[in-house]
């Protein structure tokens, strides 16, 4: 259990680093990269959450006799299924952000937010 606790702390630290980068970095590309770090930390958090019950992929074996034993060591499928959706959404949002940033770079190649504020 201690290992899981330690991993959880590290993951939350990564999320904090991503969040701080998002706030403190001036360059828009760096902001989006920091957001990606934050998103990856959340994905890791959900994977860790799923691993609390076991490490095996939650796929039922074909033989019935193994069912009762292997169920105990399976990972929790719900957080895994949930985070799959979140990964897809995060990816599409990043793609949209990068498209807009590439168009903004025509205005200011340095991509500093101050130059876009009115």
């Amino acid at each position: 259990m201690a290992a899981i606790r330690l991993l959880e702390l590290l993951i939350l630290l990564t999320a904090l680093i991503g969040f701080c980068g998002l706030l403190l970095r001036k360059n828009l590309i760096q902001k989006v990269l920091a957001m990606d770090v934050l998103g990856s930390a959340v994905v890791a958090l959900f994977v860790l959450l799923a691993a609390r019950t076991g490490l095996r992929s939650p796929i039922l074996p074909t033989g019935d006799q193994l069912l009762s034993q292997s169920l105990l060591q399976n990972a929790d499928p719900i957080p895994q299924a949930v985070i799959l959706t979140a990964i897809v959404i995060g990816l599409s949002i990043q793609a949209l952000l990068l498209v807009v940033i590439s168009r903004l770079s025509a205005v200011d190649p340095c991509l500093e937010p101050e130059s876009f504020e009115e």
Binding site: I78, G90, V100
Partner: protein, 473 residues
């Protein structure tokens, strides 16, 4: 045909219509109108039905939707606002892609109103976020940075929301809203609320809102301010109804948001920005009174959408040159009716929302289990106390008093009653006052008001202080 077919068709319809619209662009407007009508119809049915309708898919671990009266109010609001926007733009040329995005947005909003678990809520909020972002960008190129900021802030907030959902799942083994609300206050709730406050435009988390809503084109602003922003507020209302401790925290932030919106609205000089600040403060009031949030959201959304759509008729957005002389009488009527409804003038819908809804409309307005939960622990919900209507007339007409000091004597008694009322009872009127003050800074002859805000306010405050003794007497 099962009784569930109609709700499913109404919730799924916009997405199917969006696909159809991409194939047959000429059908866009009728499809959007039909979808908004069906959403409004589903909302009305949910409001009028006695018991909430539950749709469960895929067993206990699957998705459950609840079409209850609270969701009904917001479904009705979405349908009406989208219908108004499509009718308003019927004679103007409109790109098919924009209509597709509006259909997706309508589908997302309908979903956000009825979901009961954290992850479905996350998905619908992100769908709304992306559709709104593309809609903001679809009008002009100058809004690139505003749109980018909207999506960046929204996605960061939703990522924090996911952290909160994960932390809550670790304790409850479930993503359900009711299970999450049943826990005592913990770190997961904090992350969850930070995300939802940001999406709902509340207090400091809502600082992105005024610039975004002011920069978008008129119909987009109407959609954003009228119904999109409520998508983040509905789950907050649900949390408030389920958990007292959470209701207290959410209510505190809502109160701060109401004050912040009014104060910022008083000093801004752009009419669309003023309306957006008013949205921020009204969202604060909405979470403050969860029991009547549905009707309040409907009243606010309709008035705000009407105001944003009417703003297109103005020659200039600067409040210093406020002039309705160019508008037709019916447009002028919209400019007067909508703010008066927000202020709560009795025959209009806004006053229904403010004067203790349960007594007016029977059991289907308030959730039966918690009829008066919020008035008990905070005492900020407006109630039907004597003198409240006086407060309303006095509060909603400060400019008259400023211009014609003779009126002050007549309303002195009413003003005294207001001063005597406990302070929290007066708070819900503040945003209405802001709007009224700003809209009424026009002089009677249609001349523009004084050039700067400070100059316009100083004589008024002097006069007010001269007459202060008569209030106290």
């Amino acid at each position: 045909m099962s009784p569930l077919a109609l709700p499913i068709a109404a919730l799924l319809g916009p997405y199917l219509a969006a696909f159809l619209n991409a194939l047959l662009p000429s059908l866009g407007r009728p499809l959007l109108l039909a979808c908004s009508l069906s959403s409004a119809g589903l909302g009305l049915k949910a409001i009028l039905s006695s018991s909430p309708q539950l749709l469960a898919w895929l067993g206990p671990l699957g998705v459950q939707l609840a079409i209850d009266p609270l969701a009904g109010w917001f479904l009705l609001l979405d349908g009406l606002v989208f219908g108004a926007v499509v009718l308003d733009g019927w004679s103007r040329p409109q790109r098919a892609s924009q209509l597709t995005l509006m259909l997706v947005l309508l589908g997302g909003l309908g979903g956000a109103a009825v979901v009961t678990d954290l992850i479905s809520l996350y998905v619908t909020l992100e769908v709304i976020s992306i559709a709104a972002f593309l809609l903001i960008l679809s009008e002009t190129d100058t809004n690139l940075w505003i749109g980018l900021r909207y999506l960046l802030i929204g996605n960061t907030a939703m990522t924090l929301y996911l952290v909160g959902a994960a932390l809550l799942y670790a304790q409850t083994e479930s993503f359900g809203l009711s299970e999450a609300a049943a826990l005592p206050l913990c770190a997961g709730h904090v992350f969850l609320l930070i995300g939802l406050f940001t999406k709902g435009g509340l207090f400091l988390n809502g600082f992105w809102l005024p610039a975004t809503h002011a920069a978008a084109a008129a119909p987009i602003s109407a959609l954003l301010s009228g119904s999109v922003v409520t998508a983040g507020v509905i789950p907050l209302v649900r949390f408030s109804l389920l958990n007292e401790a959470l209701a207290l925290r959410i209510g505190t932030v809502g109160l701060a948001s109401a004050l912040l919106g009014v104060i910022a609205g008083l000093i801004c000089t752009d009419v669309k920005r003023l309306l957006a600040w008013s949205t921020l403060s009204q969202m604060g009031l909405l979470v403050l009174m969860p029991a009547s949030a549905g009707l309040f959201g409907l009243a606010h959304g309709l008035a705000k959408a009407a105001l944003f759509l009417s703003c297109r008729q103005l020659p200039t957005r600067a409040l210093d040159h406020w002039n309705l002389g160019h508008c037709r009488p019916d447009q002028r009527l919209a400019f007067w009716l909508a703010p008066l409804s927000l202020a709560g003038l009795p025959p209009l819908i806004g006053s229904l929302a403010k004067t203790g809804t349960p007594s007016l409309a029977g059991p289907w307005l308030a959730p039966p289990a918690q009829p008066d939960r919020d008035s008990g622990d905070r005492g900020v919900r407006p109630s039907l106390e004597p003198g409240r209507n006086n407060a309303c007339t006095w509060r909603s007409d400060p400019s008259d008093r400023r211009r014609r000091p003779g009126v002050v004597g007549g309303s002195g008694a009413a003003a005294g009653a207001v001063m005597a009322a406990p302070a929290p009872a007066r708070l819900p009127h503040l945003p209405a006052v802001a709007l009224q003050v700003a809209l009424a800074r026009r002089e009677p002859g249609g001349r523009p008001a004084a050039p700067s805000t400070a100059a316009a306010k100083t004589p008024g405050s002097n006069r007010r202080s001269q007459h202060r003794p008569s209030f106290c007497a």
